[in-house]
Symmetry: D2
Subunit: 109 residues, 4 copies
């Protein structure tokens, strides 16, 4: 299929969107929720651009590169924020975001 | 992570969204494009609800069941249409949609 | 244009998505943020289904009615939660969600 | 509300997404559908980024400017393609996309 050339990056974006969506909900259940506000915001933004990027690549969109370039930046910022928090969902999300940023950078290059 | 209880169905939804997005673009390159119009429309609808469903499950949303129930119906209709067309992208999409419909039915039950 | 028959409901869904997105961010800046967790979750769910519904109607999708029916339920639940909170963004969101629920119910009927 | 500072651009993005979604469906019903393939693809891409941009602005996202900058480019390309086709839905879409591109450029500046 057409999108097979992007298969790895699509998977990274889907995994990242799922991890961010999960992290936002889990952050809302933390005791120190006020300290998680920035993490929740970046999770929401990151999930949205990752799902957009996965779709654009799967459609072999002429904008897939530009979208992945922006997605990489947003993933890096989300990884940076998640990394600050000890919770498992944040640490997992940070790792998945970092992988996705790398895949998106490579795809956009 | 919270969303692990839905992991299989989330994967099915992500795969289905990707297959539908790919199928819509590939249909637009077919010679008999006029006969693919219904397939393209259902691909677009199916990709959209699948990405919504994946996100809802990943967020452990209280509406995940209702969304997956609707997603199952839309996946079945997309599988039914794709099955009619010989192109590889349609046959693959039909199979992936049928699997996703099954996973969403089981999740919503 | 085709979607003009749904114009009013599309506008209601777009306004509701915007109000919910705004409310979620504003809730994250409230002092009593822990009490806003359910509101934030419903805002996120409601914004997502409203944008899906607007797109489905604009595409004259065969699933527009089913999606609006589900959207109406999610809007009502979001209105119910937002109504509990005194903040302006919550009260505004509650009103906009209630209008959208009504428009979606009428459209789906 | 927070998002009021972006109200005009949010409205432009919502209108543009709706016009693109409508145009893609209407293109699929045209007789010379093969000549509309590029228009349909750009409609799909443009609707997706416009809905993302509207949400990002409504959430007062730190990435709203970057997303609007990319959105402006995609809107301009969609306007350019739609302008080539005589159908009312294409001419309308071209005009709405051009307005949205302008609003997004101004917002991102």
């Amino acid at each position: 299929m057409t999108y097979q050339k992007y298969a790895e990056c699509i998977d990274a974006c889907n995994r990242c969107a799922d991890a961010c969506d999960n992290c936002s909900t889990a952050c809302l259940a933390e005791e120190n929720i006020a300290q998680m506000a920035q993490c929740i915001k970046r999770d929401i933004d990151c999930a949205a651009i990752c799902r957009l990027a996965a779709g654009a690549m799967a459609r072999n969109s002429e904008y897939a590169g530009s979208i992945c370039s922006l997605c990489a930046q947003i993933c890096e910022m989300c990884a940076e924020e998640c990394r600050k928090h000890e919770a498992d969902h944040c640490q997992t999300c940070a790792a998945v975001c970092a992988e996705c940023a790398k895949a998106c950078r490579a795809m956009a290059a």
